[in-house]
């Protein structure tokens, strides 16, 4: 068997406070194979976002990674020098944020923001990058991409902004995309379109997707496997069908029971 694309082992992240440290992520281990989707579910404060940011070594202070290994393509990201990490961040592993309005730069044309992802990683000249931006907007199904590439974020709807975010994430042909609540801020019909787009791109580019969400409905639609986080630890992990049909952990059952209208329609 080939080793998994992402292998997180015993990851521990501590937030230091005046009264000692708190482990926001406590001995978390999981694996993700190329082209597969792992859903990381949990409520606010469960540590799911901190886990994801730790993979990219983007833990906000006063948090610090206190232990563990993050093997990506066989290399431990936590042991890489920062300049090598920068080659991976945004290129081999990219990130889609929840709030497209705050994650995009309001005073930069969307084309420049996509092009920036390419030029920063030295993958293209500005002209090439701009042409590639149009291609990418087209790939995420933004109509009239050649014109839209000149738009500022405020000229786009919420769903279109999220498509731009996805285009930026895809710019450098990543192997792994971390999506942090990618559809939480969107209306349900727009959410359906964005999920459809992610499914399509995942298949086309053989992307591995680490999908962070609190919505089990999104998990059921997208994920191959699910890891449920509670208070910094993974309490249950397994294939999506097994977790949804016969959750073993009490917390998973409570979380599923809280979803209104579960199992109907």
């Amino acid at each position: 068997m080939t080793p998994p694309l992402l292998d997180v082992q015993h990851l521990t992240v501590v937030f230091d406070g005046p009264r000692g440290g708190v482990a926001a992520v406590d001995d978390v281990s999981f694996q993700l194979a190329a082209g597969k989707t792992l859903g990381l579910v949990g409520e606010s404060g469960s540590g799911k976002s901190v886990t994801a940011f730790s993979i990219l070594r983007l833990v906000p202070a006063p948090g610090r990674i206190a232990g563990g290994r993050v093997l990506f393509d066989g290399r431990d990201l936590l042991a890489l020098p920062e300049h090598e990490m920068r080659q991976i961040r945004g290129a081999r592993i990219s990130l889609i944020f929840q709030e497209p309005m705050t994650a995009l730069n309001p005073v930069m044309r969307v084309g420049d923001q996509i092009a920036e992802a390419l030029t920063v990683h030295g993958q293209a000249t500005h002209e090439q990058a701009w042409a590639r931006a149009v291609e990418l907007l087209d790939a995420v199904h933004i109509p009239d991409a050649a014109r839209r590439v000149r738009d500022y974020p405020h000229q786009l709807s919420g769903g279109m902004r999220q498509r731009v975010m996805i285009a930026i994430a895809l710019a450098c042909h990543p192997a792994l995309v971390i999506a942090d609540e990618p559809t939480t801020a969107l209306d349900v019909t727009i959410q359906a379109q964005v999920l459809e787009l992610l499914r399509e791109l995942r298949a086309r580019y053989n992307l591995a997707l680490l999908l962070i969400t609190h919505d089990f409905g999104v998990i059921a639609e997208m994920a191959d496997r699910v890891a449920v986080m509670y208070r910094g630890a993974i309490v249950e992990e397994g294939p999506v069908r097994q977790i949804l049909r016969s959750p073993a952990h009490e917390y998973t059952r409570a979380l599923l029971a809280a979803v209104p209208g579960m199992g109907r329609r």
């Binding site: 919420g158 209306d187 019909t189 359906a192 919505d215 409905g217 639609e221 999506v240 979803v259 329609r265």
Partner: protein, 294 residues
């Protein structure tokens, strides 16, 4: 059925957008000829996506936004015709709970003072009476009266929404307009707050206009529901009938977009073709308690 508590008739709110000195202004019909009735003790759901006009409708009912046209009858009286003083009085019976418990509570006021403020504004009771009432309200919504002196940031999201509910209940209202009251909360906290709202309905004989974009939640808790699209109600009826047999293309598209918890469920996304229906079609009866603009 019990008597109608609230009757909204042909409600309209138009916003005029000016584009510059030389361009003619354009009109956005945020709420466009909206009519519905809510009976005493009901939890009536108003669903729609961003920009559908559902929140503006809720605000027009309380006159937090002045409607352009129409009538809002509360216990048979048109509140839109009320002069200022009478309107102030009427607001005691109609209260609102806002979506975002992080921004709708004044961060510099203590929780107890936030809940007491409506009583102060309406000059009700002595200091001691008001304080006793606030403690009672805290207990009613499941908060510890020992936390009265705390500031909003010391509470969790769910607790903050309980403070918002306690504030809305301070004046013994009959109608609560709940504008996306749980959208900003985690799903398990949502369940707790919704349970509280249902429990309060029984205990205090409340009536709710529950504004939401989460169809799963509305299906779960509302007896009747109206679906808004671009300022108009396109479908309305008893929740079970409407969810089981949606008639309007928009309702169908909306329901088909809701993620289902079963990974093996067949997924059939219906794309909405705005050209496939008449936007101006009036509601007509399509079932025993079911109307659609088709």
């Amino acid at each position: 059925m019990s008597a109608p508590l609230l009757e909204v008739r042909h409600l309209a709110k138009h916003f005029v957008r000016r584009h510059g000195l030389w361009q003619p202004p354009s009109v956005v019909k945020a709420v466009d000829d909206v009519t519905f009735t809510i009976h005493e003790g009901e939890m009536f759901g108003l669903v729609g996506e961003s920009g559908s006009g559902k929140s503006t409708t809720g605000r027009c009912i309380l006159r937090l936004v002045e409607p352009t046209a129409g009538e809002v009858l509360f216990r048979g009286e048109n509140v839109l015709a009320f002069p200022r003083a009478r309107m102030r009085q009427a607001r005691r019976d109609m209260q609102i709970v806002f979506q975002d418990p992080y921004s709708s509570l004044n961060p510099r006021m203590r929780a107890g003072d936030i809940v007491e403020e409506p009583l102060v504004i309406h000059r009700l009771g002595t200091n001691a009476e008001r304080r006793a009432r606030v403690a009672e309200l805290f207990e009613l919504v499941g908060l510890d009266p020992g936390h009265l002196p705390r500031y909003p940031h010391e509470f969790s999201g769910g607790q903050r929404q309980r403070i918002g509910i306690a504030r809305a209940l301070a004046l013994h209202p009959a109608l609560i307009v709940a504008d996306e009251p749980v959208s900003a909360l985690d799903v398990s906290i949502q369940a707790q707050v919704v349970r509280l709202m249902l429990d309060l309905r029984e205990r205090l004989r409340l009536t709710y206009l529950f504004i939401a974009h989460d169809l799963r939640l509305v299906e779960h808790i509302c007896g009747r529901v109206a679906v808004m699209y671009l300022g108009r109600i396109v479908e309305m009826g008893e929740t079970q009938a409407l969810f089981a047999h949606p008639r309007h293309p928009y309702t169908r598209a909306l329901l088909s977009a809701v993620p289902v918890l079963d990974p093996d469920a067949p997924r059939q996304r219906l794309a909405l073709d705005p050209g496939s229906f008449d936007r101006a079609a009036p509601l007509r009866q399509v079932g025993a308690a079911h109307w659609a603009a088709v």
